[in-house]
């Protein structure tokens, strides 16, 4: 394969504008027809706007097609069959991936996808990555939480498709007091302060509407006289690295739990209370 080829797709990316418009129209006609004939929700939406597949004859006709708002998605996803309502355009058997939006503007919007959808989405990202210069011998780090949130999964798959070595982050980002927190940032601070032992414990909790975050650390015997400095340094560094204020508890060496297998140093008690 020619790594110097500047285009991921030398055909589509160099199409004359008129041919590109023809292709866009053809693709829109195809997808609109598909949605109209396979999804009860989409058909009802388009009928209410008085537009049918045979009405799409030119690109300008696309203006007649109503857009699907997030609020509509949230509404239909509350209907049977849960959680997709009547929006699916394929049989449920074809749905292989379930993701959702982040929920920053309200209830997350569910996103059911087929394997074909993800192939297509990764393909789209391949155009981006290739044009930015990513090539099969590159190593790609994706600082993303790797959870049910839909974002960046396609970037991950695209980098794999290109042949890159993909490295993802291993910790779980969570939100505390409205701030995104990577538990590894706390570990980094604790490990960077002289006089502290290896063990530490973080507890996130909730009382009423107020969230709290507490950090317990062990001070080494030889640093017992530096507790005031350690406390101040911890508070400053944590504030700087994580933008949060912690309840600090400085304990004697050996007082925190030890683990025989994988240590559980970050404890989130918020969900446990609501269960």
């Amino acid at each position: 394969m020619n790594y110097h080829q500047p285009y991921w797709n030398p055909i589509l990316e160099t199409l004359p504008p008129e041919a590109l418009r023809q292709l866009q129209l053809k693709k829109f006609q195809r997808i609109f027809h598909w949605a109209y004939t396979h999804s009860k929700f989409h058909r009802a939406l388009y009928r209410s706007a008085g537009v049918a597949p045979e009405d799409i004859r030119a690109l300008e006709d696309i203006r007649r097609v109503p857009t699907v708002e997030k609020s509509m998605m949230r509404q239909i996803q509350g209907k049977d069959p849960y959680p997709h309502g009547d929006a699916l355009c394929v049989p449920l058997d074809d749905v292989t991936v379930f993701r959702q939006t982040s929920g920053t503007t309200g209830q997350p919007v569910y996103q059911p996808d087929t394997w074909h959808d993800w192939e297509w989405w990764a393909e789209c990202w391949c155009y981006i990555l290739w044009s930015q210069g990513y090539r099969p011998n590159d190593r790609v780090f994706i600082p993303f939480g790797y959870n049910v949130f839909v974002a960046f999964w396609a970037g991950h798959y695209a980098a794999e498709k290109l042949g890159c070595e993909v490295v993802g982050r291993s910790d779980d980002i969570t939100k505390v007091k409205g701030v995104l927190l990577a538990p590894s940032a706390i570990e980094e601070v604790v490990r960077g302060i002289k006089g502290l032992g290896d063990e530490y414990e973080v507890v996130v909790d909730k009382t009423g509407d107020a969230e709290t975050i507490r950090l317990r650390v062990e001070v080494l015997p030889e640093a017992q006289d530096q507790c005031t400095w350690i406390r101040s340094e911890l508070q400053d560094q944590l504030r700087l690295k994580t933008n949060l204020r912690y309840g600090l508890e400085i304990c004697g060496c050996g007082s925190l739990p030890r683990y025989e297998v994988k240590a559980k140093r970050f404890k989130d008690l918020r969900n446990k209370k609501s269960e």
Partner: protein, 68 residues
């Protein structure tokens, strides 16, 4: 100099590949390892069809044998 790409040949190969993979799917009805892998192959093949066959169907490119 831009690369010469034989679109007709790619188009024909895409068609025969689809036919072969769909045959895999049919034959694999009682063979999940064949049927499901064929399903994934179809998804990958679709991406090649998007790049090749869809463009070949465009009126103004139909007569051209190569793209350069």
């Amino acid at each position: 100099m831009p690369p010469v790409i034989d679109m007709n040949r790619l188009h024909l190969n895409t068609r025969s590949a689809r036919s072969a993979v769909e045959e895999f799917k049919r034959l694999g009805e009682d063979f999940p390892a064949v049927a499901r892998n064929a399903e994934r192959m179809l998804a990958s093949l679709k991406m090649i069809e998007i790049s090749i066959s869809d463009v070949m169907d465009l009126e103004d490119l139909e007569k051209g044998k190569t793209h350069d």
